[in-house]
Subunit: 570 residues, 2 copies
């Protein structure tokens, strides 16, 4: 495919014919919200600012939790998975009551952040009633997620429900099978009430598509919630669900978790099943996507992983999964952590640099942790240009052929970040030979990571992204997260109680001169692009990385970190 | 690369200049044998028939074990890994005595089967002495393989030693690193005395290359020992080593093990490290190669796997390896085994059909086993043509570019089975898009295997190959083994005490009419190719397949099978 016809899948005329289909699809979400509780819906619409205001002002959407009753606020705010199940067992709470509270929170989330693609409110209420009936009849819970309300990234197949993965041409796609993870979570008693938005092609660190439009960041509605699991991050940060199930091939769990100040894990590949979902990734294995939870506390994230793996045993359903138990963590008595303040390619914005320094300073008070500055030992700027270019080329190595085939039937317009992604690494179609050589380069890096970096380090602490959240449409640099997808070392994203500060974070640091730095820091006319006022409300969150298949240890150290930092459940 | 210039890497003039290099390389093996024990060498040369006889007559090479003293014969013949280590601990045997006996057996193996590429006799003797010294000084073994003599497929890197993978152009390649498996085995006290032959490109089910020529089958020297680990199968079947380390991407452990009537395992991928070896496979991941042992008893094969994985922990060295322990097997009380008499694509030769029937009949006497004829439920002939064509296309999907680059510098002539392989699936260069679609087809098959076949079966029993060993240069059909490489379900090859019988196996069965059946069964002129006299001495061995990562269970059931069949250590 030549550069000239890279965007040939766009077709305004074809797209026109899809507009009524899109309208019918999106109307359903509104109808479900209205039908559920008309009075509540009207109250919300009256209280929540217009989309014009939400899109331009740094509105804190979490302030609208007060639209819920105090009892409902307590359910969504105070009760962990353990509390919810315990209180159902003891008879203090019903699954229906929990589900109703979460549906209300999800409605507030939707009206402020536009995070939902498809509601499943009637199904959730019916399921909750079944759970209550079961508990009453059998005097025991269905499973460890009995009555726990979980939101699902929409590209996961739900049997019998339109599943689009945000491709307009898939608005008539009704899968016959169900995502393995849904099967597992259902078995454990989970309630599913909402399927959340992902960006066009599921390949932005942002959430904007031609079906439901743009999703907003709960911490500041004019900012991006990250992506591609940005529907999930907005939903979970808005307390619209207990856990959100996302997926990540370049940062799609971690960027959204970081942008919205919650927890997320990109597990080592093949521990969690991705089977039975829709994406352009079928058959691509140079960089393997993962599925994983976004959560409001590290403990709940850990519970999810342990239950899903040890009791769910996804390998019984999905032959791609490896049968490795979620084991007890093993941390050394003195934990040695390399700190990557800057990836030597793109200098982070000041809030990130300040956030990582403040965090390391605070954690260093604990003698259990030993921090080492990893930057002097890290890959050089020149090496990083090469590594990142290879990283990007992987994503577009078929010349975007699969993606174009999926967009083409509807002719839907390509959004700016879609075009940005299509041009990754030049966007050219490569040969299988090139792909093999790139895989070999990747494998050599994997070995170098183990033998050079993890030889005397237990973990690596780094940013998730070059900034504290991002202006919609401007999440251009994937390197802080996609580097780890390429190498397949597991990461946890966690909040550190630091947020962007217009005054403290005003000074432009010394900058490098490579193409990626320029893309992030400069406008086309050569002026600095960074404006501290743009990032009001943007949180700083960090990324902790461990050895392959040592996800348990990464989670365990994150627990210690958030305890030491006093980070509360969100 | 067009069909026209597919063989453009051949260059007779360039190759001429490599002949002295080849000669110098091969002379070294002879020199090492002579220097080790000149009298023994002369005695062997006098006793063993000429290569002309070995190449044309069905000589049983194992009859030349008598060239060893009775004590040496006892060492190589009677003592398992457990016996060898125990007798060293008790002082009954030294590592040097064991090593000397095995070197002698390896010399007999080499002079009859031509299985060696490079001897490491001085290093082995020095290592054995070190082990004896260590035991004397510390009164304990270095590790579980103390004084156990192991042969290595030559493409595994040995630090500082020429490593060719049978590519003539690599006769000056001296690796700086060492195969991870060698590091692990060395740590456990193994002694390495020989590096064994593989075919050109490591992609024949036979063993023939332009450096050391052709390797013979110990059971009948005019037959092929299989390949690509045919140097290992010949060596191990000749009792020239306790264990042979081979590798398998399409049948390269199982075909040789079957052809020479010994045991072999193709483990699930990523349990054993392949790191630091030479092949054309770098960066190719549609069908992932594995390394695994060839052994003379199922117990020793099991010991190797358990020790290598649980004590060797290859994931500490190789980030591709998954940290899954070799666990205790879990077999149901009633074991349900699907029997695939014929893969519905290429009808096996009569000895195989008879062998599998006789074996199932004998094993059916044991009420623990329940056998089910899988053929009616298996993929249809039409489906199998499609599946196998995809399977083959994976091997050549870069248009043989990497291979050609590796052959090109020497211009070495392409052997018939190399050309056969280069034309797999048409031999055309495919696009990354095609490769992704094929990967998706493969993944769907993996799921089908789990959900349709293994839903009510615990194991599948099938042939390893369409015949009982093969005439050199005629191992054309890979499907019985390569099917499982594509799906990555683990297999064990094991002897069943059945051999080809000229009279019993004379009748031509009813044949199918697909292209692969024709290739195997018919000559170009339409006559039947199969001649029962060709296969004298060819053993029948079967292949047992289990669920992914259930290698332990496959080994455990094989143990039960060989016990029931009365199959002795080879």
């Amino acid at each position: 495919m030549t550069q000239d016809n890279m965007y040939a899948c766009e077709d305004a005329v074809k797209f026109e014919s899809y507009k009524p289909v899109i309208e019918a699809y999106t109307k359903d979400a509104v109808a479900q919200m209205q039908v559920f509780d008309p009075a509540f819906y009207d109250k919300c619409v009256a209280a929540i600012p217009s989309t014009q205001v939400l899109d331009t002002e740094p509105v804190d959407a979490t302030s609208f939790w007060t639209l819920l009753s105090s009892q409902e606020q307590a359910i969504i705010g105070d009760l962990t998975i353990a509390d919810l199940t315990q209180k159902q067992l003891s008879g203090e709470l019903s699954a229906v009551a929990i589900t109703r509270a979460y549906i209300k929170a999800a409605i507030v989330a939707q009206l402020t952040t536009n995070c939902v693609m498809q509601f499943m409110i009637p199904e959730a209420l019916q399921r909750a009633q079944e759970l209550d009936d079961y508990l009453e009849a059998h005097n025991k819970l269905v499973g460890p997620f009995h009555g726990v309300v979980i939101s699902l990234k929409e590209h996961m197949n739900v049997k019998g429900k339109v599943t689009t993965a945000s491709y307009v041409s898939y608005l008539d796609n009704i899968p016959k099978n169900e995502a393995v993870s849904i099967t597992i979570l259902h078995k454990f008693g989970a309630v599913f009430h909402a399927r959340t938005a992902q960006p066009q092609g599921i390949m932005h660190l942002d959430t904007w598509n031609n079906i439901t439009g743009r999703t907003r960041n709960p911490r500041s509605t004019r900012l991006s919630p990250g992506g591609s699991s940005g529907g999930e991050s907005a939903m979970v940060a808005m307390r619209g669900s207990v856990i959100g199930v996302g997926s990540d091939i370049g940062g799609s769990i971690r960027a959204p978790a970081a942008f919205t100040d919650i927890f997320g894990i990109r597990p080592t590949t093949k521990r969690i099943s991705l089977m039975n979902g829709l994406s352009s990734g079928k058959g691509q294995e140079s960089i393997v996507a993962v599925q994983g939870p976004l959560a409001r506390s590290i403990e709940e994230l850990e519970t999810y992983m342990r239950v899903y793996i040890n009791e769910g045993q996804p390998w019984l359903y999905d032959p791609q999964c490896v049968p490795i138990q979620w084991r007890e963590p093993k941390l050394p008595s003195k934990i040695r952590i390399g700190v990557l303040y800057d990836d030597n390619l793109v200098t982070p914005f000041p809030a990130i640099t300040r956030g990582i320094k403040e965090t390391v300073a605070k954690l260093s008070e604990n003698s259990e942790f030993e921090f080492v500055n990893l930057n002097p030992k890290w890959f050089s700027e020149k090496e990083m240009v090469d590594i990142y270019t290879t990283n990007l080329r992987f994503y577009t190595c078929d010349g975007n052929k699969v993606q174009s085939e999926m967009w083409s039937p509807s002719g839907e317009p390509l959004l700016p970040l879609t075009k940005h992604y299509m041009n990754f690494g030049g966007g050219k179609e490569l040969s299988i030979y090139d792909n093999k050589m790139m895989n070999a380069q990747r494998d050599a890096l994997k070995v170098e990571m183990l033998q050079k970096y993890f030889a005397d380090l237990d973990f690596i602490l780094s940013p998730n992204y070059n900034g504290p959240s991002e202006i919609p449409g401007e999440s251009l640099y994937w390197g802080y997260t996609s580097f780890w997808n390429m190498l397949d070392y597991p990461n946890v994203t966690f909040p550190v109680n630091v947020a962007h500060d217009v005054e403290k974070d005003a000074k432009i640091p010394e900058l490098k001169q490579n193409e990626y730095e320029k893309m992030v820091w400069y406008k086309e006319n050569g002026d600095i692009r960074y404006d501290p006022k743009s990032y009001i409300g943007g949180p700083v969150a960090l990324q902790l990385t461990g050895k392959r298949f040592c996800d348990e240890d990464v989670v365990a150290l994150t627990k210690k970190f958030v305890a030491a930092l006093g980070v509360q459940r969100r």
